[in-house]
Structures are given as structure tokens and as C-alpha cells.
Symmetry: C2
Subunit: 200 residues, 2 copies
């Protein structure tokens, strides 16, 4: 396959774009169970970054599952391909100079590491939304746990499909009764501290 | 499949991003034979848009084929899936407020129309790089026509795989001895004329 591929050096590159925006292009990868608060925290973080004139893009299970990965189901194999495509798209967005926020369950360490491996050092920020299963199941914002318990959804993470907690996430947002706003603040503070919001 | 999908309304939207950049997010879709000049023109256009502080991203066969579509070959079916994924990614970039330039042979009208159909009116600009096969084959910048003629590449557009010329492209860049710079200028002028470079 693919003997007819030659690499082009593009004229406008990542550094140039990032510098123009006063931000360090990166992927802020939120992982956690369904109902852990990923999408809520991601939206709040994106809003906060926009207020600081940062250019972000939010990829989540909902918008990607309707389009790019609309052909994929939820088996282990399809989940892997789902995350692979999201990782590749995230890399393109980073190359375009954006701060990408992803909000996917992304249950497997190997897949998250795949995305990390595509990027340069410091460009991948793994954020573990460590909300316990009991809390997620109690919240059940989309009624999915109930469906999973009833057997209406196959391969549901935490119930009938495994979740591998991150081993070395850049940040762990512990569930301790703190609000989504507070979690987003904490994440924003980390980005600021680590120099992502002012490109050298 | 996919019964557990709920659509999220994102907080930061296309209009807000486009307005901030003084540009109309869109896909500038270059189509034409291998060697027609797509990548060269795309790079020159991107450079020119960057000089005018527009935020662009260039997707081409080379960078996408190594990553997102690295699992796909060049059969008709795989070409369709290749263009489908590129279309979906282009839509995400437009949603992120960028002007996307794509440089793919994209030989089938139906596939180009698929991308058009994903977008809102005026967001898809089909650009036909109408360089005759004889000229492309004579140029043969990557030596691919020679390989195709020798039978070393299967399914090569224009030789062993069809190319469907656009029926109603927004612009046709005719081959008449004009340089790639002149073609890029012509395209840039169209974008300016049609109001893509100053968002209302």
C-alpha cells in the first residue's frame, strides 16, 4: 500500500500559528466514565479559554460519533479505531495551532498513549476525571447506565466493558463534591501555570 | 448501533470564531489530476492568506494519508472512505472557524458533493484545476505516471481509474501556460471578491 506517497513541507507551520495566538498548541485529553463530567468540564474550560482569546476546539463523543466515526459501533475494536481517528484529527488541529479539548471515555491506556505518541513532548495533557462509578451511575444524565443494566446497551464502560484508569495523568480531578466549575478552574490554572497560555 | 448518542450544543460556535478572525470559515476544495498543481497552488494560496492574517489549514493527500487515512489504500471503495473522512474533518475545521484548503485528486463528483452537503450554503468552494492529462503526465513530479504506465501502481486516476471533472465548480483554473502563482492569485482574488476575507 501507499508507495505513491511523498511528504510535503507546508509553508505555514505550527510554531507560526501558535505564536500568532499567544498559546501553546496542545491536546487536553479528558478521560473518565460516562457521567463523570467530561463534557461539562470541557465546555466550561473552553468558554474560559475563549474569554482569554485562546483558540480552542472541542472534540467529543457526540460531535465525532455523528460524523467522522459515524460508521463505528462500540465494540472494543471499534473503540480503538474511534480513538485512533480522534487522535489523528487532534494532531491536525494542534498542527493548525489550536488547543484541542477532547472529551471521550477513552477507556484504554494504550489508546490514550497512542495519541500522546503522535505529539511532541508537552503537547498531550492527560486529564483524569476521577468520579467514582457509583456517583456516575447515580447521576446517569442520559439514562445510559439504566439501559446498560437492563442489557439494552452492549459494551458499556464500567458495566460490561473495562475502564483503565490513567497511570500517569498530568492532572487528576478528584471527585470530592467540588463543582464542575471548580474543576474547570483547576484545569485552567494548571494550563496557566505550565505556560500554555502565553507562547514564548 | 449508536443508540447512546445525544447531541451537545457547544458554548463557543463557528460564528463567534469566524468573526474574531475577520474571515468566513469555508472549505476551498481543490480537485484535479495528479500533477495538475493542486498542492503547489494550495501552498501558495495558504501563504498568501497567512500574509493577510487569515487562519487556514491545509489538508492534503500526503499529510492525511500518513495519519487519519493510513489504513486505506487506493481502491474505489477506499478512495470514497478517504474523501468521506476528509470531508468530516473539514467540517470540524470550518466549525472551528478556519478556512480549510484541501488538495486531493478527489476524482468522484458524488464524493465532492458529499462534502458540499455537510456544509452550509457558501461554505464549500469547489476549485477545478483543469490541467490536461498530457501536461500532468509530462510533468510527472513524483514519477507516478511512469509507475502507473508500467503497471507498478494500481488504480491510478487518469490511467486506470476514472476522473470525473466537476460539473459546476465555483472556479475553474484553466491550464493556459499560467504559473501556479498566477492561479493562486486568481483564487485569492475570488475569495476577496466573494467576501470570504472580511466577515460581516
Amino acid at each position: 500500500m501507499a508507495t505513491n506517497i511523498v511528504w510535503h513541507q507546508h509553508e505555514v507551520d505550527k510554531q507560526r500559528r501558535g505564536a500568532a495566538k499567544q498559546q501553546k498548541p496542545c491536546v487536553i485529553w479528558l478521560t473518565g466514565l460516562s457521567g463523570s463530567g467530561k463534557s461539562t468540564i470541557a465546555n466550561l474550560l473552553e468558554k474560559k479559554l475563549a474569554e482569554h482569546n485562546k483558540h480552542t476546539y472541542l472534540l467529543d463523543g457526540d460531535n465525532v460519533r455523528h460524523g467522522l466515526c459515524g460508521d463505528l459501533g462500540f465494540s472494543d475494536k471499534e473503540r480503538v479505531e474511534n480513538i485512533r481517528r480522534i487522535s489523528e484529527v487532534s494532531k491536525l488541529f494542534v498542527d493548525a495551532g489550536l488547543m484541542v479539548i477532547t472529551a471521550f471515555i477513552s477507556p484504554f491506556q494504550e489508546d490514550r498513549d497512542y495519541c500522546r505518541g503522535l505529539l511532541e513532548a508537552g503537547e498531550f495533557i492527560e486529564v483524569f476525571i476521577n468520579t467514582p462509578l457509583e456517583v456516575c451511575e447515580k447521576r446517569d444524565p442520559k439514562g445510559l447506565y439504566q439501559k446498560a443494566r437492563q442489557g439494552d446497551i452492549k459494551d458499556f464502560t464500567g458495566i460490561t466493558s473495562p475502564y483503565e484508569a490513567p497511570k500517569a495523568a498530568e492532572i487528576v480531578l478528584e471527585y470530592s463534591g467540588q463543582s464542575a466549575e471548580e474543576s474547570a478552574e483547576q484545569l485552567f490554572a494548571l494550563l496557566q501555570l505550565k505556560g500554555y497560555l502565553a507562547h514564548a
